[in-house]
Symmetry: C2
């Protein structure tokens, strides 16, 4: 059979998978943006059925045969086609050794577990959630065994989210980060400085916050004609296709900047999803290079741009105009310090740039122990609190503010958290390169944000998953991932803020 | 094979179909409540794929065989099981003669046509929509041929939405209605009375309208813990399961009562969907008896209750308290007349109780002609306008306010419009019965709305589709559908209002 005919058959199968995945995504979106909890089981049933169909369409003798034949004629394939075939092969490999019934049960389990987790978090009831988490971890370990791995079962999942990443590399990365960040955190704590944050802890009308968020996403480069912004408890972004990209944020009456930075963060993800090259969509490679690269884009906008002093030189008086009662008498420097305070706090998503990666280290270490079997789910809250004490010097007063704070584990997302720390480091390295290419601080100061989006699209967005993360970062910056830029950035920024 | 084993196999198939249908519904919901238009084609693809799966799971040799065997052991089946088997058989019959490729193409076509219609309505551009409508009608006629029919192809679709209904019965029904309503409309027109409606044509803050709608749905009996109210251009209700029922309404700044009655209308539908008996859900018969019966519930709340004088005796001062600037100085009688004015207007959904069914007659007659082939799509706008002139004495100034106003045809919903008129008549007959059973006017006056919901649940809601509409109306009222109650009701009500 000719190459084109084989590819045609493959595309047909992938179209079906995309159709099911689209429906599944919409159900998740619906669930997160207001669907009544009472209907959750029916949704879980439907998701279970579609998961089975996705499985069957990828792991079918037909597709396996097509891929095998295409690999035999590798010399005839274009680079893009080769990458696609490899990608499908990886996908098959990730499924084929898992018995379908187990995969379907697992899909249904995580859909239910997410509802249970939500409830448990609300009621501070870890125990009701524990059996679900235990079952999920059982599957995670078993699936790693089925799929096979080198060195550590965790490597299977790391490679899913961050192709090429391993526990070995990650241990080194985190060790370097720890060495670079912990002393800085300590120095700042020793200074015992408290910044005034009272003026951003008073009521800001929700309607005004909403208007501000709508304005912000557009300002940083999101195209509202091909997507929209909504509200959900946990902000997230969903790219259904490059012409339908959705992001959410949350609004807290007396914490407007939480919403502001959430919007900027999700905005970064959403801009990535809107700017894949059309050739990438056509080639079925519409996805980020990795979760870490995805996170680099959100961090870029949230921290490197929107928490930048030069950014606020332009934007602070506009904010004052919008909220004259609350901010009219607060000067730029006071505001800047308030939004950049480094303080050990309980909630990852609300933590500052400096301490953020410490939260990730805690989760990473716990995941490794859970997968090793050296930590049992029943002992997880205690272990969580001990690590909080050791890394951040604080202990959550209850599990809702501790081990129950994140949804990831209830979704079966083990191996995912490290992407957040990697994202911070990728962002620093990309930012450094932008600085070389265009004097980024000047660009921000001169309010030329479209230039940044253009650079990021040219160097990151447009490629989709045409390149592995390492290839992409080397092409963009001339160097493999190097945490030193992130450490330097943090030291520079916080030394200035805290006058170290 | 034993009955239980066969039923088990059938339930398994139906569960799959339900899973696909659930996902499809969520995509429709998403599309109607804010999804960006730019992503519409991907959604259409996904809907197309799931439609194919629904088809395959109903029209499979396996299911056909199961149903055949179950019918052979009919004497062993319970009544409920018998009804289910019949229902599945009807479903199979409605699909089996249609070639799957055509069915899939058609499903994808209507998904696209809905987007095209939306655009055409916005731009007053019937021509861009015409080829789609033509293609849809082609399928509708062809599918009727495939499926086979007695007397008229239209009967196929009537029976889908209103089991047991035929063109013959419907012609008689509409003739009686015409005879009862047209002279009344003429008498009112001759009186040439204009009621003051200025006070409900001024701005009412959208936020307040929203709060009012939320209060209203709960007040009439909708359980907000098992569903929710949102906003969409065209109000609708979607019952995903009895524990996840959604309704939408719309808000117009200077037309608050439009939103009020839309909410009451969809509230009636939504209450129906929330109150199926659990045994009905278990027996896979969760659905309305018919679209006409469904519509009787929405009309009951919209008109019979919420446009009732006694209803406003209780509720008008609460409304005045909410909107003192607009309504503080307007007395109850003036308000009551304003919300019950009978006037020939352009838009079906905004038309009053009296002229409403005339709009339906127009659509019914046009659908018959389109299916007969005696009317071509290109001549449809002209035919529309002529009928508007003849029934209502007015002609729309453009197609957006005329032939493009309703979404139904773009969805392939031919044979659906008559349900609206039937619903009005069912509602009158049920209302009459409630009056016998509990003196309904007193109940409304005494603000005892839960009693009404209870009666409707006992006589209508709880049965799901356990009974055909005729069986249901006979059981509830002791008589087959009889339009005289509707005609009497209209004559009584409007004679008082217009002092005839």
């Amino acid at each position: 059979m000719s190459k084109d005919k084989l590819l045609g058959q493959l595309y047909e199968k992938l179209d079906k998978v995309k159709g099911y995945a689209y429906a599944t995504s919409i159900m998740h979106w619906d669930s997160a943006t207001g669907a009544p909890k009472s209907g959750g089981l029916k949704r879980a049933d439907s998701i279970g059925i579609l998961s089975e169909d996705i499985y069957k369409n990828i792991v079918s003798d037909e597709v396996i045969e097509i891929v095998k034949k295409l690999k035999e004629m590798e010399s005839e394939l274009t680079t893009v086609e080769k990458i696609l075939v490899e990608d499908v092969q990886k996908n098959i490999d990730s499924y084929i050794k898992i018995p379908m019934e187990e995969y379907v049960k697992y899909s249904s389990l995580v859909a239910k577990a997410t509802l249970v987790w939500e409830d448990a978090k609300e009621k501070n009831d870890f125990e009701s959630y524990a059996p679900y988490l235990e079952e999920i971890i059982g599957y995670i370990r078993k699936f790693a065994d089925y799929r096979g791995y080198t060195d550590h079962p965790y490597n299977v999942y790391l490679d899913d989210y961050e192709p090429g990443m391993t526990v070995e590399k990650l241990d080194e990365f985190f060790a370097e980060l720890k060495e670079g960040i912990v002393p800085l955190v300590k120095k700042i704590a020793d200074k015992n400085m408290d910044f005034n944050k009272d003026f951003i802890s008073v009521p800001f009308a929700i309607e005004d916050q909403k208007a501000l968020s709508e304005e912000l996403v557009q300002y940083i480069g999101f195209d509202l004609s091909r997507g929209f912004l909504k509200e959900s408890v946990h902000p997230f972004t969903m790219g259904l296709c490059k012409d339908d990209v959705r992001l959410t944020t949350h609004y807290h009456l007396s914490n407007p900047m939480s919403s502001y930075f959430s919007t900027a963060h999700e905005g970064g993800h959403a801009i990535y999803e809107q700017n894949f090259d059309d050739s990438i969509s056509g080639a079925y490679l519409v996805d980020a290079a990795s979760m870490g690269i995805h996170e680099s884009q959100s961090r870029m906008y949230e921290n490197y741009i929107c928490r930048n002093y030069n950014y606020w030189k332009n934007n602070y008086n506009k904010l004052q105009d919008r909220f004259p009662d609350q901010l009219g008498k607060v000067d730029l420097d006071t505001f800047y310090k308030a939004i950049n305070e480094a303080k050990c706090t309980l909630i990852r998503t609300e933590s500052d740039e400096l301490t953020y990666s410490l939260h990730i280290m805690i989760r990473y270490e716990l995941e490794i122990e859970l997968l090793n079997g050296t930590l049992e789910v029943k002992d997880l809250p205690k272990a969580w609190n001990q690590k909080m004490q050791s890394y951040l010097g604080i202990v959550p007063p209850n599990d809702s503010l501790g081990v129950l704070q994140d949804t990831h584990w209830s979704n079966g997302l083990f191996g995912y958290f490290p992407s957040y720390a990697l994202g911070n480091a990728y962002a620093a390295q990309l930012y450094k390169q932008m600085d070389k290419d265009m004097d980024i601080e000047k660009v921000i100061e001169k309010d030329e944000l479209p230039k940044i989006k253009e650079w990021l699209t040219d160097n990151v967005h447009k490629y989709g998953k045409l390149m592995k993360p390492e290839e992409l970062i080397v092409k963009a910056t001339g160097e493999k991932l190097n945490p030193k830029y992130y450490i330097e950035y943090l030291n520079d920024k916080y030394s200035k803020i805290y006058d170290l």
